[in-house]
């Protein structure tokens, strides 16, 4: 966690000595003039000079702490991360994801940047090797990959599952291409995957999915394309192209029930790219498989 702590303002770094088990920490929340909060699985706590405490008694983060932390996280190079900041997040070395809140600046109706940053939501990246063990027999049958859509509400472990599917397929020698539009699957930092997606996986980082699918179909000869959070109608068109090209797709999308997902616009073309759907929940912890649906 040294690398993560080095991304914090010096003023905040010393507070973290009382975090004993970093493996349990899921989130760190910094908000201007509010207490620093740490979320560990189902509980939350604050930190102060004496150690762990109730959030309301914790150290209060000020605007300078936030500004300094953002500057360090951006490696003093805001301009180099414009696209990520416009999308509302940064990816740190180690694959940790930082959501950014503040005053949004618009230009011609589009987000130009975020200023007066008032909140940072740090989600710690964690690899869970073996997370996909339970679904792999469904994904690879008789040596063939079955195109699969993974559906769940946020926070149910879709991306973790997808990453481990990539790792396992790739390590079995399949030619895997990961299109990682938001740098969440491989968590690339300066182009280098920070999380294990397998030894034979290529990663197209920061690329919009529809364009990325077209690119890799032309140049990478993939056997399987892995991508996260399908949602735009153009994604559906690109998925249909991949299916026509005989390329298998493993993808995720937000949703709590298959009936609501199948009605979405992107499904009109993209639905045909999938042969099965896996529904996840948090019922028995992140990554609980609720149902596997075969599609006609």
């Amino acid at each position: 966690m040294d690398r993560l702590l080095k991304c914090m303002a010096p003023n905040l770094r010393n507070l973290f000595h009382s975090v004993l088990d970093w493996d349990k920490v899921e989130e760190i929340r910094l908000r201007v003039n509010q207490p620093l909060v740490i979320k560990e699985q189902q509980k939350e706590y604050g930190l102060n000079a004496a150690g762990r405490c109730r959030p309301s008694e914790g150290f209060r983060v000020n605007a300078d702490d936030i500004a300094r932390t953002v500057e360090i996280m951006a490696e003093n190079s805001w301009y180099a991360l414009e696209d990520e900041i416009r999308a509302g997040y940064l990816t740190l070395a180690g694959g940790h994801r930082v959501g950014i809140c503040g005053r949004v600046v618009l230009e011609n109706g589009l987000i130009k940047t975020i200023k007066y940053i008032n909140g940072l939501h740090i989600r710690l990246a964690r690899e869970v090797p073996g997370a996909a063990d339970q679904v792999m027999p469904q994904i690879v049958r008789s040596g063939r990959i079955i195109s699969t859509l993974i559906v769940s509400p946020p926070g149910c472990g879709k991306t973790t599952l997808l990453r481990d599917i990539s790792r396992q397929l790739s390590n079995r020698g399949f030619n895997v291409v990961v299109i990682d539009e938001r740098s969440e699957i491989a968590a690339c930092h300066h182009g280098v995957p920070q999380l294990d997606v397998g030894w034979s996986a290529y990663v197209l980082d920061g690329c919009p999915k529809a364009q990325g699918i077209a690119m890799v179909l032309r140049g990478m000869a993939p056997q399987v394309i892995i991508t996260d959070e399908i949602g735009h109608p153009n994604d559906g068109l690109a998925l249909a192209d991949a299916a026509r090209a005989g390329v298998q797709v493993i993808a995720t999308c937000h949703g709590s029930a298959w009936d609501s997902v199948r009605e979405r616009a992107w499904m009109r073309h993209g639905g045909a790219a999938f042969q099965q759907v896996i529904l996840l929940s948090r019922r028995s912890g992140p990554g609980t498989i609720e149902q596997v649906l075969k599609l006609d």
Partner: protein, 171 residues
């Protein structure tokens, strides 16, 4: 004979002193030119490669001459040192390299003003600030060259004239 030799030595010594003074006026324009070139390179790194500030400064340090190279290398090192400094603080800590190399205070001041904005906005804004700094450095360089031309000519002659005057007074 000894007198003539002595007189010759006095004129030569004063003349050499004048030439050294004249030469000192050519250092500042060179320094400013080197800094202005580095600023343009930084703008290119930001515009085309979107390199992070430490990476861009490290690369620039490898492509220019000292003392500007030493300054950029130091700035990159301080930025990447993991001490949680802002770009402004890192720049302040690196300016000593320029001061030690004999940069004029007004030139150091120009660079230090960049600290307030460097790395803290989008590329478009960064390029505007760098263009302004480049203009200022170029303006200072032109003025320094004019001063060099004027003062260098003066010192080139003045040294020998002073030497001759001293000889005349001693005879």
């Amino acid at each position: 004979m000894l007198r003539i030799l002595g007189a010759g030595l006095v004129v030569a010594a004063c003349g050499a002193g004048g030439l050294i003074m004249a030469r000192s006026y050519s250092v500042r324009p060179q320094n400013l030119q080197s800094l202005a070139a580095a600023v343009q390179m930084l703008a290119t790194e930001i515009h085309y490669a979107r390199s992070s500030l430490p990476e861009a400064c490290r690369r620039i340090a490898g492509q220019i001459d000292n003392p500007a190279a030493a300054f950029f290398a130091r700035f990159a090192e301080v930025l990447a040192g993991g001490r949680g400094l802002t770009a402004a603080e890192a720049l302040d800590q690196s300016l000593a390299v320029l001061a030690d190399a004999g940069f004029a205070n007004q030139d150091i001041e120009l660079i230090s003003q960049l600290g307030a904005v460097l790395g803290r906005s989008d590329a478009e804004d960064q390029l505007k600030h760098l263009a302004i700094l480049y203009e200022r450095l170029e303006h200072s360089r032109i003025k320094a060259e004019q001063e060099r031309d004027k003062m260098a000519r003066l010192w080139n002659y003045l040294g020998f004239c002073v030497g001759a005057l001293v000889v005349l007074m001693l005879i």
